[in-house]
Symmetry: C2
Subunit: 189 residues, 2 copies
DNA sequence: AGAGTCATGTAAGCTGTTACATGATTCG
DNA sequence: CGAATCATGTAACAGCTTACATGACTCT
């Protein structure tokens, strides 16, 4: 289970509705996660049924009413258990890798194009994460913040996200160059 | 669909049974993918039904008979289509990130332990991939191989796997250090 | 004799994605 | 006035994981 724990983990930092995190889930909560609202509503409903989170109705005049959720004691306990349990190593699972794998056989042109698109998407995310990190650490420099900051969880996971995007960008650009240069020397197909 | 294309991609390099790749799927085919044999059998059966791959029975004396699969023309065509279609960006989805996110609230000890375990697992994989890369490029150096080599698909995906594992290791070690050093200054809980 | 490997599958279940649906309010 | 945003859900489906099952051969 993944969202099952990712959602309460988010909620530790405060109350959220189902809608809020859905918008920012890519970046703020989990610079690493992504989930459409539907999934969050479903998960929150399930978690509430099990008593791991609790919601309270907030009436809004101009906007539709919403429900803000927080983690219950029982939810905290389960999160703590989850934290202690071992989990399996992660791995990349990316269609683009499959495409690169077969590019020299089935045609490089569309793959090169996608590699370059990915690289600029990664670049954009790198900048976004850079800003977010600066914002999170405020005036302090990184070392300082990590030593004395109160809540560093988000910062640490952002760092992973940043490194991932940088690695992704670098690889995309490298591979695009390699494939491009081969086009002059290797016949396609 | 992911395995749906990853499997034929593998099969482009030669014939395989369901069993063979299952063992090496972590490393050889897709230094990035991982799938248990059950899934491969299921996928191969499905792909065969749709005519994208074809199998031939190989009788073995000492071992149980097996079926070797290869990609059909129709399978190649679909792969090529897949290669041209755009796919969504990838992201990390790792329980460990969730744990790090909440570590400063719910207890750092078990998380530090897991970070260090992960780091050494990543280290092991880095060495494995290094060996594989050396083996794939033979006598040539990397630049040379990437320019003139016949089939570089696996090499390129391995490079991504390698960079990913290095990033993973570095992050794990860094975060473990950060959390460890905070333990002397921050009370837990 | 028992453990491990080669070889193949079925069946159930968990997670996550996508499409569909609703309805008020705000912004240009 | 139309598009976007806030806000919440249902239903169907696709994909992956896990448990279970079988059976022969090889190595210690």
């Amino acid at each position: 289970m993944a969202l099952r724990h990712a959602v309460p983990a988010t909620l530790l930092d405060g109350e959220y509705s189902g809608y809020q995190p859905a918008k920012t889930f890519d970046v703020v909560v989990a610079n690493f996660w992504h989930a459409p609202p539907q999934q969050l509503y479903a998960e929150l409903t399930e978690l509430e049924k099990e008593g791991l989170v609790a919601g309270r109705q907030v009436v809004q005049e101009t906007r539709p009413d919403k429900r803000l959720f927080h983690v219950t004691d029982s939810g905290r306990a389960e999160l703590k258990e989850f934290t202690a349990a071992v989990s399996k190593p992660s791995f990349i699972r990316d269609d683009l890798l499959v495409k690169v794998q077969v590019a020299d056989r089935l045609g490089t042109a569309p793959v090169i194009e996608q590699l370059e698109e990915r690289a600029s998407a990664a670049e954009a995310k790198i900048e976004l994460l850079g800003k977010l990190l600066r914002q999170l650490r405020g005036d302090a420099d990184e070392e300082e913040f990590l030593r004395r900051g109160e809540r560093i969880g988000s910062y640490l996971t952002c760092l992973r996200g940043l490194a991932f995007e940088q690695g992704h960008r670098d690889w995309c650009l490298r591979i695009a160059t390699v494939l491009r240069e081969r086009r002059t020397t290797h016949a396609e197909r």
